[in-house]
Symmetry: C2
Subunit: 196 residues, 2 copies
DNA sequence: TCCCTTGTCTAGCGCTGCTAGGATCTCTGT
DNA sequence: ACAGAGATCCTAGCAGCGCTAGACAAGGGA
């Protein structure tokens, strides 16, 4: 009994190890450097072991992405709790989203560009995904004012997503980063002040 | 002399053929289906012929992207000329940008996601790239109002880019597409009316 | 007519994701 | 204590990828 438990524990540890190494490798050298051979070498097992944990390479990327969603959710909730009032929360969350994307470019890619088979916004979505979306969409919808919150949230999210991706491609001026966030918040609020 | 001319002409035609087929294949089956072997087969030449026209596969993607920039520039200028006043131009151009992205997803990918070695916003940028950027940035800056036009343009462009990419991933509700554009324009204008 | 340039193809290298089949090692039942 | 069963892991290999070296053929100039 206990032996089997130990095995399952070790197996779970190796599972997490694969995810961690894949993420580290991707963040250090880009996703194109994450090959099954290199990954196998780093975890000190042969390639087929990877396939006893994941159906294919995409599933590994998806697992990394899921970890990213959990972290994003935590970080967004974190900053939201540190300020008061919907406008301040909105501003803080938007800033945290941009910071997350800038700090973890490979992870962000896995989450929003590569792992396209992750079920977005559906009832069978993984918890981490739902929570991350809620942590972002909640504060945004909060400042929608008279606007229909759903399209409003989509527009704000799109703007944030666009800022993250274009920024990483070096297509936005780095010295304007702060101003862009201020500007986005300001315009999206439509001139409304704090209304808590 | 004339023989050499014929050869150069045929060579140029084949060059364009490669770009056209690559684009068609990408748009029909996605970029992952665009392999050098398949491409060679479609143009009815062997693989090495591709490399007598382009340094590598990325260069082929870049060539497709460049064609995309030329088309985008043309389309943006087109719609801009059909309306009057900076606000109307801004609205039309933003809508055309979204329509372009939705109509040519693979092409859009080549332009903004894959061909990262294309020199963006630099003096040695290809003409098509500069023109496309100008056709977008001009009308945007026109409605910046008192705002510094550069970060303002970056924010609007990011929002449009985000809308295109998230929409394609099926992450935005299709029935809100029109409302999103209206909302973006409305908010970005900051309540300003036409001021021509 | 012969040579030489130019253009093209065949074949192959090292890499990729992925898997079949065999070896080894561990636990279980007698 | 030991043999058999089962789980676990690795070696070796497949097909396909981007890319290239070297052979080959076709055409124009001397």
């Amino acid at each position: 009994m206990s032996i089997q438990e130990r095995r399952e524990r070790e197996r779970a540890e190796r599972h997490q190890l694969i995810i961690r190494i894949a993420r580290e490798l991707a963040e250090a050298e880009g996703w194109e450097a994450v090959t099954t051979r290199r990954l196998a070498e780093r975890i000190e097992y042969s390639q087929p072991v990877l396939y006893s944990h994941f159906a294919n390479k995409d599933a590994i990327v998806a697992a990394v992405a899921l970890e990213g969603f959990a972290e994003l959710a935590a970080q967004l909730r974190d900053v939201a709790h540190k300020v008061d009032g919907p406008v301040a929360v909105f501003t803080a969350v938007a800033g945290a989203y941009l910071a997350f994307g800038a700090a973890n470019p490979a992870l962000y890619d896995a989450m929003f560009t590569m792992a396209s088979e992750l079920p977005f916004g559906r009832p069978d979505s993984p918890t981490a995904l739902k929570e991350a979306f809620a942590a972002l969409a909640g504060p945004i919808a909060e400042v929608a004012g008279g606007e229909d919150p759903e399209p409003f949230t989509e527009v704000v999210w799109s703007a944030l997503h666009g800022l993250v991706t274009l920024d990483r491609g070096g297509r936005l001026r780095p010295d304007f980063a702060e101003r862009r966030l201020e500007l986005l918040v300001e315009r999206m609020l439509g001139g409304a002040t704090d209304e808590d």
